[in-house]
């Protein structure tokens, strides 16, 4: 495999709070290849957004602390950059689309006014452009996201647009800088099903056309299945499983992924599964060993003591669970137990 575009190695993020430290990210490993579409799935509070904010270095520090880890974007460590270098990465290198387009756009400025700085500071040449040239570029960006009548849109305020249109404006803005990596944080969650379908279709087409890499964060498994090439499953600050999309959906390995898949109500009927018992652990004193052991139906002794590393199962399918440990020591333990 060639050098990945983004490579996160053993990333830890903690938050200083009254009463201790929240150990949120606990050794996250994550990589995105050039032109790859990655899905990141997990429950609310599992650290998806924290990971992404760490990549862009937009976590408030303090209270956030990054004691260990490496975030390499195009061969350079984001964690070691100064603010001038960071501002080159943000926007030009990595863009982000947020969950709620209403909150992401400023209500007191027109779309055009919000577009201007995005385009102006996206590259050194653009700084010297006139207002009219910038406006023309903005119009092109809005046309790309299939918005009709971009001229009028640029003079509208966000509240004059519908939710789907606002989200498309955000996508247009994020892509106007021609980023190499696009982070889409639940881009369809605040939209209706038919509109979400439109927005995701548009996003897929655009990134394929421009060969942009994408990280799609969501807690809706179905959305990932339709969009991503490879999926990471996250639980309580750990990556627990990664696999090419068809493999993950055909054969989920980690007990957490299996529970998650079963919990999704099916269109074909068959009732609603009970879900996963228990809840996401408290980050002030997370469980020892595997963080999922408190809710796992297959918990073993070793799960309470040791944190499972990634075990390769086949062709890019990796899972952090001792059930899949096929090392000689593990086999011997099994034999002893038998």
């Amino acid at each position: 495999m060639t050098e990945p575009l983004l490579d996160i190695k053993d990333l830890y993020v903690q938050f200083e709070v009254y009463g201790g430290r929240l150990e949120v990210l606990d050794g996250v490993n994550f990589r995105v290849g050039t032109g790859e579409k990655i899905g990141l799935v997990g429950e609310t509070g599992c650290g998806k957004t924290t990971t992404m904010k760490a990549i862009l270095r937009i976590l408030p520090e303090p209270p956030a602390v990054i004691p260990r880890g490496e975030i390499t974007f195009k061969g350079r460590d984001v964690l070691k950059m100064n603010s001038a270098e960071l501002s080159k990465v943000r926007g030009r290198g990595i863009s982000m689309i947020f969950q709620d387009p209403t909150a992401a756009l400023n209500p007191v400025f027109t779309i055009g006014q919000q577009f201007e700085p995005v385009i102006r500071y996206s590259s050194p040449q653009n700084r010297r452009l006139s207002r009219r040239e910038i406006r023309e570029k903005a119009i092109v960006s809005l046309q790309e996201v299939a918005l009709a009548d971009p001229e009028r849109l640029l003079d509208s305020y966000p509240l004059q647009l519908s939710g789907g249109m606002r989200q498309r404006v955000c996508i247009g803005m994020a892509l106007a800088t021609h980023p190499e990596l696009l982070i889409a944080d639940e881009p369809g969650t605040s939209l209706d099903v038919t509109i979400q379908d439109q927005v995701l279709r548009l996003l897929r087409e655009l990134v394929e056309e421009k060969h942009t890499s994408v990280i799609l964060i969501t807690h809706t498994l179905g959305v990932v299945r339709e969009t991503a090439d490879r999926v990471y499953v996250m639980y309580a600050g750990n990556m627990v499983e990664v696999a090419p999309t068809p493999k993950l959906f055909a054969n989920p390995l980690h007990p957490y992924t299996q529970g998650l898949m079963q919990a999704v109500p099916k269109l074909t009927g068959g009732g609603v599964a009970h879900g996963i018992p228990g809840r996401i652990p408290d980050y002030l004193s997370p469980p020892s060993g595997c963080r999922f052991h408190t809710r796992c139906p297959h918990v073993m002794d070793i799960c309470r003591r040791e944190k499972p590393p990634f075990f390769s199962v086949d062709g890019g399918h990796q899972v952090a669970c001792f059930l899949y440990d096929k090392s000689p020591e593990a086999r011997r333990d099994e034999a002893v137990a038998a």
Binding site: S162, V193, P265, L267, G275
Partner: protein
């Protein structure tokens, strides 16, 4: 033969959001609910599905009496819920309860669970021992009894919603309105809440009006489904039939847009209809059929005449010009536009 517990007849709710014109001031109206008919059978789960702004929640709020309808009637076991514009009498209020979408804001953060659950008890069942009843309610929803001393923020999202369900049960209602009860929860928790609701329904013989935008969930809980679009119902059917054979073009678009997790489900979806266009604003509902701006089968008549509900098969109704409409509704249109249109 089961009986109808709730009958909705020509229900309308228009909100005045401003005025236009200086001399002839006319109100600007949002037609949140615009002429809706349906009935709930005793003991069933009727699912009401629709996109945001389609008027689902407005129906819920009218049913519990938070709003007065602009027009139309609503009957609970034959009794008019809005008789004489009076405040709803207590015995009737006790029968219809609601669980809101966001348990974080529907529970008072300054009250303990015990206080939250005691309030409806004191109002509706003053003769009973509230403490004993609180314990019984917590037991019914499978939460530890110690929880009554906790405050809402000490509970997880799922537990909060379970408390909201217990509060709705406190009055011994026969109809509970579930307004997106799990859309604020994670899938792993959703199952627990849904199964609790289904068990309670079996044990207590409850009727649910289940409002959601999640069709996959609806498939698994509802016995009948109604689809709403811009303040009107466009299709009503038995759940199993509805998912096998959707009739209305909007319903088919909706069903084909759902992201699913397996191949079997993909096969169960109707043929893909690419969703286009924006949902029109409810202030400015298109003339004729309100879906005509996005409909792949749009005809001339759709832009002028609003269709009515017709039976497409027993127990399955749709509101679309693709199905034969009553002659008196469409005749004036063809007279006006000549026969040329009729042929197209």
């Amino acid at each position: 033969m089961s009986t109808e517990i709730l009958t909705v007849d020509g229900l309308k709710k228009h909100f005045v959001i401003g005025y236009e014109g200086t001399i002839n001031r006319r109100p600007i109206k949002v037609k949140a609910v615009d002429g809706i008919n349906f009935g709930l059978q005793e003991g069933e789960t009727f699912g009401l599905v629709g996109e945001s702004g389609s008027g689902k929640s407005t129906i819920a709020y009218i049913t519990v009496g938070m709003y007065q309808p602009t027009e139309g009637k609503m009957y609970f076991r034959g009794e008019d819920l809005f008789a004489g514009n009076l405040e709803r009498p207590l015995p009737l209020r006790k029968e219809i309860q609601i669980v809101f979408q966001d348990p974080g804001s529907s529970l008072n953060p300054r009250r303990t669970i015990r206080q939250i659950l005691e309030l409806p008890l004191r109002i509706h069942r003053p003769k009973e021992d509230p403490l004993h009843e609180v314990m019984r309610l917590l037991d019914m929803v499978e939460l530890p009894i110690e929880y009554m001393h906790k405050y809402p923020q000490m509970l997880s999202g799922g537990e909060k919603q379970i408390i909201a369900i217990a509060r709705a049960l406190a009055t011994n209602p026969s109809l509970i309105i579930l307004d997106e009860p799990t859309s604020a929860l994670d899938v792993s928790v959703q199952g627990k809440v849904i199964n609790l609701l289904l068990r309670l329904q079996r044990e207590l013989g409850l009727t649910y009006l289940f409002i959601t935008h999640d069709l996959s969930l609806m498939r698994n809980v509802a016995s009948r489904v109604g689809i709403m679009y811009l303040g009107k119902i466009c299709e009503v059917a038995e759940a199993s039939q509805f998912f096998q054979d959707p009739q209305h073009p909007y319903t088919r678009m909706l069903l084909s847009s759902i992201p699913v997790v397996s191949e079997e489900e993909e096969a169960a979806k109707p043929e893909k209809i690419e969703s286009t266009g924006e949902i029109p604003s409810p202030v400015n509902v298109p003339a004729g059929c309100s879906f005509h701006t996005r409909c792949p089968h749009v005809m001339d008549i759709c832009k002028h005449v609003d269709p009515v509900m017709v039976d497409t098969s027993p127990g399955h109704m749709a509101r679309c010009h693709l199905f034969e409409q009553p002659a008196e509704l469409i005749a004036p249109f063809f007279v006006e536009h000549g026969d040329a249109v009729a042929q197209t």
